[in-house]
Amino acid sequence: MLGIETSCDETGVGIVRGRDLLANVIASSMEEQARFGGVVPEVAARAHLEALQPTLAAALAEAGVGLADLDALAVTSGPGLAGALMVGIGAAKGLAQATGLPLYGVNHLVGHVGADLLRTETDADRGELELPTIALLVSGGHTSLLLVRDLLDDVELLGETIDDAAGEAFDKVARLLGLPYPGGPEIDRAAASGDPGAIRFPRGLTAPKDRDRHRYDFSFSGLKTAVARWVEAARDRGEEVAVPDVAASFREAVVDVLTAKALDACREHGIPRLLLGGGVVANRRLRELAETRAADAGVALRIPPLALCTDNGAMIAAIGAQLVDAGRPPSDPRFGADSTLPVTRVQA
């Protein structure tokens, strides 16, 4: 199974055999995005068109297979940036027509969960993904909390961000602090020598009044503004901004909310399993706090290898392979890009 992913700024092509990972090649337009300080959809879409065929060729070479060896194709149909998704869908449909292979449109967010199914040579002893599980997916485009009872038939969205995605907040705060894009690694680096308790930044949607409607939702826009105010006030007083302390305190506010809500979901639903996914999993402090809190709560924590946490085609192929194994028919040939595809629709 070959999977194509173009929902944001990474062009990913992956090849899997059942649950064995054969290739995972990713081309990123991050360098082009850097000068804009964030992902510009049109820049991303243009980069996908340029990168797609080379990425596809590289994936086939890495897997050591030819198109004739493939049984089926999968492509992300949503959620994501519509113009970016359509490049992948156009290519996948062309490939399907040329090869006669069945094509499956796959949900990007469920793909992040599916990434954990994949076995690589180095992690043969990671054990199996057990269901049901809570899944926390955190990236530059998404911040979502899922309850996964069945990968193909029963995925429930418990909550998601109501404004900025967590990764986006990292980018914006980095810019505020004069740090380059992408912000995640920069904040991580600056925070290393800072005191996470130096400044008590707000934890969005954690007040008692939010418990009914927004228990599992996230909000990072207010946090970003609070950091901006703090930095401005310090500068107004003529003080030098203690970047390490601001970075560490901001990061702590983000990962505190993320992990607290994820473990709250585990407790409320009586599910002692938590899976992390998405590019922000690269954040060291997020992994660390998730590990501590999961251990304290008796929750088993699973984190796929980092190359499978960021957006990639292998995770899309993994879900495609599950769909084939379950005997599902290919997607309607007229499926399109759905920028808001709900997690309840695993297949387009």
């Binding site: 804009f36 510009v40 996908h48 068109l49 359509m86 290519a91 062309g94 490939l95 810019r175 399109g336």
Partner: protein, 208 residues
Amino acid sequence: MLLALDTSAGTSAAVVRDGRVLARAEEAGTRSHAEVVGVLIADALAGADVSPRDLDGVAVGMGPGPFTGLRVGIAAARAVAGALGIPVLPVVSPDALALGRAEPTLVVTDARRRESAWTLYDTPDAEGLPVRRAGPAHAPSDAVEEAAAALASGIRFTRLDASLIPADALGLLAERLLALGRPLGPAEPLYLRAPDASPPGAPKRVSA
């Protein structure tokens, strides 16, 4: 035998061979390229009663046209050609409409944002192939003819507004260009407009 594809306006697919159109399939919608591109390729191949393995190349319209749709056809054409190990034959999309027109012609298609894409053609050359005098370029939709006339050196032209670039004509043109050893279109899309984004300035102040 060529598969031809254009998504610079509506979506059109065709199969041509030796100057003959074997099949053509199309949908006029300008916002459904990703949905229909696969089906139309399949319809064109089925209509011509050929298998993808019979193809010698894939002609594709490189625009200009609304970017999102334009990319769908190019991505699909490259994938088909890549999978079959045959060349992509890029063509300037409006050239397909100018093919076979004896008089100077202004081809106009939508470019969104109240702009149109225009290309002005002279009378055809000795081989009967389109000769671009000016464009392709963008102009405000209500001032396209003025923009073209400014570069027309006084020649009179007929305006042709199109909501679909017919892939059969595109494929026939690609065949002729190949046969005559003429240059094809550009390898990359004719965007004619930079991405709508600028590098950020200093962060905006949020406190009073």
